[in-house]
Symmetry: C2
Subunit: 302 residues, 2 copies
Amino acid sequence: MSDHLDLYPSRLKAYRKPIPRQDPIVHARNQKRWEGPLDEVALSRYERDGYLWFEGFFSKDIIEPFFEELKAMAKDDELMRSDQVITDPNSGAIRSVFGMHHLSERFDKLTRDPRILGMVRQLLGSEVYIHQSRINDKYGFEGSGFDWHSDFETWHAEDGMPRMRAVSASLMLTDNNEFNGPLMLIPGSHREFIPCVGETPEYNWKASLKAQKIGVPDQEALARLAEHGGIEAPKGPAGSLLLFECNVLHASNENMSPWPRSNLFFVYNSVDNTLDEPYAAPMRRPEYLGARETVEPLSMHD
Amino acid sequence: MSDHLDLYPSRLKAYRKPIPRQDPIVHARNQKRWEGPLDEVALSRYERDGYLWFEGFFSKDIIEPFFEELKAMAKDDELMRSDQVITDPNSGAIRSVFGMHHLSERFDKLTRDPRILGMVRQLLGSEVYIHQSRINDKYGFEGSGFDWHSDFETWHAEDGMPRMRAVSASLMLTDNNEFNGPLMLIPGSHREFIPCVGETPEYNWKASLKAQKIGVPDQEALARLAEHGGIEAPKGPAGSLLLFECNVLHASNENMSPWPRSNLFFVYNSVDNTLDEPYAAPMRRPEYLGARETVEPLSMHD
């Protein structure tokens, strides 16, 4: 485990009070902050809520080929048997595929799309690289939900991400509606770190990616934050984009509709925030969950 | 089992095609139909969708004492240990309490409230009695969902209800919002009967009231009906009322919010549609699930 100062202790033996966030939310400062592409209205909303929603950011024409490529991947037996593919605990269908940008040139190029990369660099105030990429799929009537959690809590405890200086870009590859298990967020929850009780077992990720039991915030803290900030579930057509801060609490419910829900996630981390040893786990996670080798700054793709 | 003609066969050994509804939706006819209290706009909407939603039907002042009485019941150890109380398969918290109108005079009077009873008599075209009453509770962060089903399918197969001539009145005792597991319905699905595959085991209700595995419509039929009619989840403050036809497909998702969801259900059946022997189950269910003894017409309470 890391021997560095741990600003955000978690996976504890006993309860510990929430810790105020120790890091900026928008990392670009002064003149850099104002150079765009996001304006002050968007930036202050991101500071307040912990996320930004762009309904219909890309057109359906642009999104279609990504969805088609995914369907082709699902027919690749060797890939489907690999550790990068996580199956649903109930139905056995695909739940997540990790390392999308290594599997496909199309997805790799998308991580470097100037329209996304510009905003991400501004939010993180530096050059950035991909910490993790994944698809979360929920088939009609089948996809299980994800319980409330902070991604940063896991990336810090299990991957050794030192500070809150990462952002997830989630691109909707299908429509997200009220009934197919859209992402829910608690606005404002990124301003606190909730230390979680329960030590991390070896190989925890093999279980946690199916259903998270460790690193789960206590219900009292969740209830307080939801009472204060409410809950929001952005909905919109395929091509919509969500940028959310690494510590904002989020979850999703089961897909009880016939309509599949397929969301792509690129996690961008600052090149000044590369991984240390895990802060609260007995071992590192695999490269496809937390990059240590491929951390060169991303260059824009035109 | 019943030796009467079975218009709606279910719990079958093999797949069978959906059957068009054999019964009227609004049972009051001609002049009786027009005598109110529901007007033609409401009646034709009920015929089209299979439900009617009355946001804020009762004021919160009227609803409050019911919720208080429920909280008092939850402290009654003897009641909580009885068969009428169903616990959540995951959390062990209360999921349902049956026979509410026998447990409490306040709830009994509510079943005879003229504002509800008038509409129900018109929809069913006769005097009515209570087939079943229950509370469905979902605590914050804890309540499991209910998979898609038709109530009539169960009442016909397991209770011997001959025809589609019953209506549920669901009164919200708490606010129902997007995140606390509101009831979802498929508008128009009451116009078909979906025969279900799988025979009814003995004492099926002991498992089915926690999580229904038998009498579950196939996904192909569900998808077709949801594509055609969409999915709706009426939301509103405590005191809102939903009237829904006995054969409309409905479900609900988990409560992922801190806000409890508590809905009261009174199932009204026509006195001309009293129970026969079960059409597709080896034994009758208990009186608190399907009334056979107390079937006198309800009189209005003022």
